[in-house]
C-alpha cells in the first residue's frame, strides 16, 4: 500500500513537472494569412499597429512565449504612445477636431490579455500540436498519481473514524517546507492566471479539445481554470470521501458542492454559450458575483431576449429572497458548504489546511472589519454601476464608475479572492477568502446571526476543553470557548462545515436547525452541577 502511495506521488510530481515545464515550450509566430485574418477580425483602424504587430509576430524566427509576449506588448505600446503623443500635440495646439479623431486609434485592453489572444493563434509546438497527448501527460498523470496517492488511505488510515494523526508533524500541513512550496506554487499560478494569461497559453491548448466538445469554442484561460477547478475538486473530494467515510454529513456535503461546481459552475454556462446564450452560473449569487449589475452585464442580459431577462430576475430573486430564506431555515451552510464554488474548493483542496486558520481574538476583530468593509465596498460600487446604467453618466460625484469597478476587480476579485484566498491555503488555512473577504458571506452572516434557526448545540456539560473543535475550525471560530461554557455556537462566520462536530472526541457538538427560542443560551454554571445552583446563577 505504501508503495502504491509513493508511486502515486511520483507520478503526480512527474505530471506536475511536465505541466509546469510546458509553459516554456513551443514557438510562436504567425504567417501573413493568419495575421491578416486576425487584423480583420479585430477591425483595427490604425495602420501603425498593423505594421508594428507584423514586424513583431510574422516571422520565421523561433521565439518562445515570453519573447513573443514582449514583442506584442511592445507593438501595442509603440502604437498607443504614438497616438498619445499626437493627442498631446493637438491638445497644445488647441486643435480639438484632430485631437478627438486620435482616440479611435488607441487600443484598450490589458497588454497581457491582448498578447494572449494573439498567442492563442500563434502557437506551434508540442502542446499546441498534440493537446490530447499532452493532456494525458499533465492532467492525466496528475489525476492518476493523485488518486494512487489518496486511495490507499482506505487501508493506511485504519478503520473509519477521525484520523488526524501527524497533521502537525507533517511539513505539508504544518507550514513546513512543503506547505511553503505549495504556497509559492499556488500564488504563482493565480498571478499568472489573472495577470499574465499569455504566459500560460500552452496550458490552454491542452483543454481546447474539451472546450470544443462542450461549448464549440476554443478554450480561454477561464475555461482552463474552470476545468482545472473541477478536476482538483473531484480528486480531492475522493480524499474527503475516504477521510470522512464514517460521517454521512461530510459525504453528502462533499457530493453536493462537487455537483454544483461541475454542473452549475462549469457545464451549464458552457452549454449556454453553445446555444448563444449569456455565460451564467445560476448559483453564483450577488454580491459574490460582483459584476452582475455592471453595465456590460445588464446590457448583455437585456439584449439576450427572454432568457436574459430570466437570468436577470433570477439573479435578483436569488440574492433577495432565496438566499436569506434558506439561511433562515438551514443557516448559511446551505450556501457556503453545500453549494458555493469557493467553499467547494476550500472544502476539498483546502481540507488538509483547515487547522492553520488563526483562532485569536485579534484575527476575529480583523475579520469583522475587513469582511464588512468589502461588503460596503461592493454595495457602493454596485450603486455606482446602477447609477451609470440608468443615467448613462459614466461618473458619479467626480469618480468614474469604471475606475471603481477596476479597483474592485483587481483588489478583491483577483488578489483577495484568488491569489490570497486560495494561494494562502497552506499558510493561513483554507477559508481565507470566505472568512475575511466574501461580501456574500458577510450578508449571509447577518442573517445567520440574527434571524435563523441554525445553531451548533453544545451537549450540556460534556466538553473537556480539549480544543480539537477550535483547532479544526477553518473559520477560526474558537468553538471551545462556547462549548466549555455549555453555550450554543451562534456565529455569523460559521459555514456549517460540521468538522468541529466530527472531530470532537466527546460528542459535544451538533449542527441543527430548531426553534429560535433558546438558540442563544449563555450559561454560567454548566449542566451536571447542582440544579438549584444552576437555577440561582443562570437565571439571575
Amino acid at each position: 500500500m505504501k508503495a502504491i502511495k509513493q508511486s502515486g506521488l511520483i507520478l503526480f510530481l512527474i505530471g506536475l513537472t511536465i505541466f509546469t515545464g510546458t509553459i516554456f515550450t513551443g514557438s510562436f509566430s504567425l504567417n501573413s494569412n493568419e495575421f491578416d485574418s486576425f487584423i480583420k477580425e479585430k477591425n483595427y483602424k490604425n495602420e501603425l499597429i498593423k505594421d508594428e504587430l507584423q514586424k513583431a509576430v510574422v516571422t520565421s524566427e523561433n521565439i518562445n512565449i515570453f519573447e513573443f509576449s514582449s514583442r506584442v506588448r511592445n507593438a501595442y505600446k509603440v502604437s498607443n504612445e504614438h497616438y498619445e503623443a499626437l493627442i498631446t500635440k493637438y491638445d497644445s495646439e488647441k486643435n480639438w477636431t484632430k485631437k478627438g479623431e486620435q482616440y479611435q486609434y488607441k487600443i484598450y485592453g490589458k497588454p497581457h490579455s491582448l498578447s494572449f489572444e494573439l498567442a492563442k493563434k500563434a502557437g506551434a509546438g508540442f502542446a499546441a500540436k498534440n493537446p490530447i497527448l499532452m493532456w494525458l501527460l499533465t492532467f492525466g498523470l496528475g489525476i492518476i498519481g493523485a488518486l494512487l496517492f489518496i486511495i490507499p488511505d482506505v487501508i493506511l488510515l485504519g478503520k473509519p473514524g477521525i484520523k488526524n494523526n501527524g497533521i502537525f508533524l507533517n511539513a505539508a500541513t504544518n507550514r513546513g517546507w512543503i506547505g511553503w512550496f505549495a504556497f509559492v506554487f499556488l500564488v504563482s499560478f493565480y498571478i499568472l492566471l489573472y495577470f499574465y494569461p499569455d504566459y500560460i497559453v500552452n496550458w490552454v491548448y491542452l483543454v481546447d479539445p474539451i472546450s470544443e466538445s462542450i461549448s464549440g469554442n476554443l478554450a480561454s484561460q477561464w475555461f482552463l481554470y474552470g476545468f482545472l477547478y473541477c478536476v482538483v475538486m473531484t480528486v480531492m473530494a475522493v480524499r474527503m470521501y475516504i477521510k470522512y467515510r464514517h460521517n454521512k454529513y461530510q459525504i453528502l456535503r462533499t457530493t453536493s458542492v462537487l455537483f454544483f461546481q461541475i454542473v452549475f459552475a462549469f457545464l451549464i454556462p458552457e452549454i449556454l454559450v453553445r446555444f448563444e446564450k449569456p455565460w451564467y452560473d445560476f448559483k453564483n449569487a450577488f454580491p459574490l458575483d460582483y459584476d452582475f449589475f455592471f453595465k456590460w452585464n445588464l446590457d448583455e442580459l437585456l439584449s439576450s431576449g427572454g432568457f436574459g431577462l430570466f437570468i436577470l430576475v433570477w439573479g435578483v430573486v436569488l440574492t433577495i429572497v432565496v438566499v436569506p430564506v434558506m439561511v433562515y431555515f438551514f443557516g448559511k451552510r446551505w450556501y457556503c458548504s453545500w453549494v458555493c464554488g469557493c467553499g467547494g474548493l476550500a472544502e476539498t483542496l483546502g481540507d488538509p489546511y483547515r487547522q492553520l486558520s488563526s483562532k485569536t481574538l485579534l484575527s476575529w476583530r480583523a475579520e469583522r472589519i475587513i469582511i464588512h468593509s468589502v461588503l460596503v465596498f461592493v454595495l457602493v460600487m454596485t450603486g455606482f454601476a446602477l447609477y451609470t446604467f440608468f443615467s448613462g453618466a459614466d461618473q458619479v460625484i467626480g469618480i468614474k464608475t469604471q475606475t471603481i469597478q477596476d479597483i474592485y476587480g483587481f483588489l478583491i476579485g483577483s488578489i483577495f479572492a484568488g491569489v490570497i484566498g486560495t494561494g494562502f491555503y497552506p499558510i493561513f488555512g483554507n477559508r481565507v477568502w470566505c472568512r475575511f473577504g466574501c461580501p456574500l458571506a458577510a450578508y449571509l452572516g447577518f442573517v445567520q446571526r440574527f434571524k435563523s434557526r441554525f445553531r451548533i448545540t453544545t451537549n450540556g456539560g460534556q466538553c473537556i476543553s480539549c480544543g480539537n473543535c477550535s483547532t479544526y475550525c477553518e473559520q477560526g471560530i474558537d468553538v471551545r470557548a462556547y462549548a466549555q461554557k455549555g453555550e450554543n455556537i451562534v456565529r455569523s462566520s460559521c459555514v456549517g462545515c460540521g468538522v468541529c462536530s466530527a472531530v470532537c472526541p466527546r460528542g459535544v457538538l451538533k449542527l441543527e436547525n430548531g426553534p429560535e427560542k433558546g438558540r442563544i443560551n449563555p450559561t454560567e454554571i454548566l449542566l451536571g452541577n447542582d440544579i438549584d445552583l444552576m437555577e440561582l446563577v443562570n437565571n439571575k
Binding site: N468, G514, L526, L527, D530, I531
Partner: protein, 446 residues
Amino acid sequence: MEHIVIIGNGISGVTAARHIRKNSDKEITIVSAETDYFFSRTALMYVYMGHMKFEHTQPYESWFWKKNRINLKKGTVSKVHSNANKIEFSNGEELSFDKLIIATGSKPNKFGWPGQDLNGVMGMYHKQDLENLEKYAPNNQVCKRAVIVGGGLIGIELAEMLHSRNIPVTFLVRENSFWGNVLPKEESAIINKEILDAHIDLRLGVNLKEIKADKNGNVSSIIIAETNEEIACNVVGLTAGVTPNIDFLKNTDLEIGRGVKVNRFLETNIKNIYAIGDCAEQHEAIGQRRPIEAVWYTGRMMGETVAQTICGNKIEYKPGHWFNSAKFIDIEYQTYGWVWAEPKENEARFYWEHQSGKKCIHINYDKNTSEFIGINTFGIRMRHEFFDKALTEKKSVQYILEHLADANFDPEFYKLHEPEIVAKFNIENNTNIQLKKKSWARIFSA
C-alpha cells in the same frame, strides 16, 4: 482587598478563579509548578499524536489572565503555614493569602515496582510526561516496543498515542477484561476487541512484576508476575490509576486521608482553606459517587461551587446526575446516570448491540418500578439534557425508549438505530412501545 490564592492551574483551580472574578473584585493568584498557562490535560494525547500543537490545548489566550486580573505565579509550593496564612515555595519565597484553595490534582500511581524510576518509565499525567514520551518514544526506531501497565482510561489513551506512531505496544491489564470493574461485560468486550483490532498486544488478567534496566539505567524489559514472561521494551507507561498530589501537605495541620479531607462546602478542617478537584476527598461519599472523583467535570463543578462560597453565597457541593464520556480508539462512549459493571439486586438491564459490533446501548432500570437508572452508549451520541431531565423526573425505561429520537445527538443524516432498538426491547419484554418522532417542543420544554 481579600487575596485568594489557588494552588494548581488545572480545570478546578481555573474555574474557581474565573467564577470568583465574575462575582467579586478580590485579588486572585493562581500558582502552578507545571506550566505558565492553563491547558487541557485531557488533550495531552492529541499533541503527541500530531492532532494539535501544545498551544491549542490552552483554552484561553495569554491576555485573558491580565484582562481578568488573575495573577499567575509559577513555582512549586512546598509548605502551607496555615496559622500564618502563608504558603512557602521550594525556593523559600512566601506568599500570604486570606483564603487558600488547594487544587493540586493527581499524580500517577506507582506501586513500588522494582525499576519504577528508571529512564523511560513514565506516567501520562503532566506536561513533563508528554515531553518525556517525546524523548523516549519519538518513533519506532528509538522505541521498539512500549509496555503499558494499567487498563484505565489513561492507559488506553497512551496505547492509542504510541500506536499512532507505529510503536508496538503491549498492554498489561490486571482485570480479566478492559475496564471490567467499571463497565458491564458487553461493553468491556467491545473494547477488548477494539484494542486487539488496532494490533495492540492486550494481556488481560496480568500484573507487572518488575522493570529491568540495561547498563545505562534505561528500561530494557519488563517481567509479568503471573507467567514470568520477559518482554523487551524501551518505554514503560504506568497508568494504573492516580492519587491526589498532596505530599507537600503531610505534616501540616490539614486533615488528609488519601486526599485533602473536605466537607460538603469543600472546606478543609482549617478555616479559609478549601480543596477542590482531583485532590479533594469527601468525608462521606455523595450519593453513589466515590469520595475522590478524579474527573474533569467534577473538578469544574467544585470550582463553580467553591467560588460561590468564597464570594459570600455559601453553598454546598451538590453535584447533579452522574455523566461521563470517553473515547476508546474509534469508539465514543457516553454515560448518563449509573450502569454498574454488575446489576444490583433491584436492577434490570436492556442491551442492544449493532451488528458492526462497534455500537451499543445499555440501559439500567429498576426491575420493580421500571424507573430509569442510567445508560451507556457506544458509537451513538446522546443529549445530556434529555437524560439529565429524565433522571430528575424519574422517568421510566419505557419513556426513554419512546423518546429515543429526542435523545439522539448524532450528526445530521446519520443512520438512526432507534426502531431496531425499540423493537428489540419490545420482543424481550413483551411490550408494545412505539417510538415517538423527534419533537423540538419536548426537547426544549426545560
